[in-house]
Symmetry: C2
Subunit: 429 residues, 2 copies
């Protein structure tokens, strides 16, 4: 089986991964001199900043998932292929995938990062990551199923464990999901499970001495205050060392019985075989020069969470693994490919920090733009606008965005569904 993609006289750019970086790159190469082949495990782009809202039953999976083929309809130079990329052969300029071998002229690695369980099998097998729409659906189904189980449970200790959710990780994902779960408790759970909701406990366990370590201490303090006000048990300076017998074990020996543990404690770049060993850096990130060109190989680029740009004096340890960085790197690579096509010299990547923000609940957020730091309703409104802007790059997404804002504000009734694709014949390829 081969990839079955028509060859033509155009130079072919193969993009591995249709996340915010890979997708933006593909869109920017539309109607240029390049043939674009986009490869992803899923047939849709997912919007990472809102994945936690799927987990907390605030949004439908389809509200933040956009089919690739829809975006490139009637585009003759674009090819989407669904599958996994296993290895690169930089000598032959091919990649080996689950659907066959694909030749490239230029290759862009944009396959992102995955959850880091730090080698602990208990974390990996028994806690819930939240990096993808699929994982967040699984977490939502589990939270709702645990509530149903708790309703039938007359053993007090077992019921308490069913009603305890521990979030591990005090970064933006941890703060956002803890806040969203607290809101879910106050609204949906309070109404649907009147006997139970008071017994639901949400813990946020943070290894650092403050939440949102990448932000200003003032924002950290505000996030902590807001979460505590919403009833979240915040534990600072607490390292989770294991998860055994359905108990979260902290370094100081404390054990918290909890059936549901959300693991948002760190990420590690996705691996692809075939690159030189010395092109792989900290957190498995692929090392590039300032033009996002992978170290030691020709015509291979890496962008986004999977990559680490070396040589930027402002960011000597690389840029943070954020959506903004991925999207700006995508623009740099797209520009440079177009410039190369015209015989122009490339321009180095330069990161422009547009600000950092995290949302805690409805009308509660923290934001930092340059020296400006603020919280509350204005930060929350800004958070909405910024996400509207970044989703807008994708054609026709305005309606979808307005739809989710509407749902988000209205607690749409049908979202508390434990929906699973079922049936004997599974797609076993």
């Amino acid at each position: 089986m081969r990839a079955n993609i028509r060859r033509n006289e155009q130079r072919r750019v193969v993009i591995v991964g249709g996340g915010l970086g890979g997708l933006r790159l593909a869109l920017q190469l539309k109607d240029t001199g390049y043939q674009v082949v986009l490869i992803d495990k899923n047939n849709y782009n997912q919007f990472p900043p809102l994945i936690y809202q799927v987990a907390s039953a605030g949004l439908e999976p389809s509200n933040i998932s956009f089919p690739f083929r829809r975006m490139f309809q009637n585009n003759k130079n674009f090819f989407f292929r669904m599958g996994e990329v296993n290895a690169i052969n930089t000598d032959e300029k091919t990649i080996h995938t689950s659907f066959g071998t694909v030749h490239y002229n230029d290759l862009v690695l944009a396959a992102g990062a995955t959850t880091n369980f730090f080698g602990n099998k208990n974390f990996e097998n028994h806690t819930f990551p939240m990096k993808t729409v699929g994982e967040s659906m699984q977490l939502r189904n589990t939270i709702l199923a645990r509530l149903e189980e708790a309703e039938c449970q007359d053993d007090e200790a077992k019921r308490e464990a069913l009603m305890t959710i521990v979030v591990v990780g005090g970064g933006p994902s941890g703060v956002e999901i803890a806040g969203a779960l607290a809101e879910m408790k106050r609204t949906v759970i309070h109404r649907d499970y009147p006997d139970l909701s008071a017994r639901l406990h949400i813990y946020l366990i943070n290894a650092d001495d403050r939440l949102l370590k990448s932000m200003d201490p003032q924002s950290s303090a505000q996030a902590e205050d807001d979460l505590k006000g919403m009833g979240v048990h915040v534990r600072q300076n607490s390292k989770v060392v294991d998860y055994v017998d359905k108990e979260v074990v902290l370094e100081n020996g404390t054990r918290i019985p909890a059936e549901t543990v959300v693991w948002v404690s760190g990420i590690v770049a996705n691996q692809i075989e075939g690159l030189p060993t010395d092109s792989i850096g900290r957190g498995r990130r692929i090392l590039t020069d300032r033009f996002c060109r992978v170290k030691g190989v020709e015509d291979v680029y890496a962008i986004g969470d999977q990559s680490l740009v070396e040589g930027d004096p402002t960011y000597p340890y690389g840029h943070p693994q954020l959506a903004q960085v991925a999207m700006q790197q995508a623009s740099t690579v797209a520009d440079n490919l177009i410039r190369a096509d015209r015989g122009q010299t490339p321009r180095p990547f330069s990161y422009r920090n547009l600000g950092t923000m995290a949302t805690i609940g409805r009308k509660k957020a923290v934001a930092e733009i340059g020296k400006l730091k603020f919280g509350g309703l204005s930060a929350w409104m800004l958070w909405l606008i910024v996400h509207l802007r970044s989703i807008l790059g994708v054609k026709n997404k305005t309606a979808v965005f307005l739809n989710w804002v509407w749902n988000y504000l209205n607690y749409k009734q049908s979202l508390r569904l434990i929906l699973k694709a079922t049936g004997k014949p599974t797609d076993n390829r």
Copy 2:
């Protein structure tokens, strides 16, 4: 573990199954003298007449799934429990469930029917049933995944098998899914897979000599004409005898290579242990008297697809397994429970046939009301109105219904998602 339901002085009605019958019964007993316990495998009611539209990516699963708890908020005499019912003990008046033992004063069995594979393991393990929202999600994911696979396949024969969908069963479900798939081909697949759509083949295999056997021959002929006009290969008088090596085997020896087989060829009632053997009839249906009381036991009722009323001279072989029958039986049982509470005598079930209809495509349907038979746009409009009416019984569903009509007419863009709940920690209870 016990079911953990507060006992009070009220008489307790336990309803097994929250389908159209069970749910209507629970709603009609709201604010009466009864305590109601509703048990279902899912935490939501699903609307069977529209399940095929989830499979063909015409509707979201959440458009036709309604959480039980939402409907009974603030109702102190209502208890929902999610789980499976394994057995009944009519002597002790208890049922044994996955979440413990539940006592009843009155028991109503409304657990519906499941797909009948006629004992063939190949059908059971390798074809796709379409009785539940979960099954239809699985079918949709598979159809879309097969298209992605076909895009990468350069072996002509293998590609043809990937691009062939065989629907087995010429009843309403078969006609509706075949028509919906033909529409999906014409719209979404045509635009998203321009290289493939012409090669997609949809077969409808019918063992009888005409489609929609329960309707008038005129409606059958119209359905066949419409489907053929939409490009569906209709095979009458064709019995599927096996499915081996990814080939559908017909009785006359013909083999159709097809990776996707939709099995809508018949149903069989769901089984519950503990009833007397002679209370089980044809198709495993539970035999009742004309008051829907199960034969040979006390205070146990059965309604809907799971049951068969004996002794109605107009329907000597029982009523058809249709939504209308289930809902009318629910009303009969609710009325009789309320009458019993008041010391009044019960009234027998009497089925009023409101008409039969099947939709074939947008603006294409067939309908029969009494002696009136018609098709086309007027039948399709009537189909919409009738479904609006039956979904309306459930409070606050108007908005949801309008939403799906809107989606249905607009081919909402994001529905072609292969969405799966993923992640290591599965809910292994």
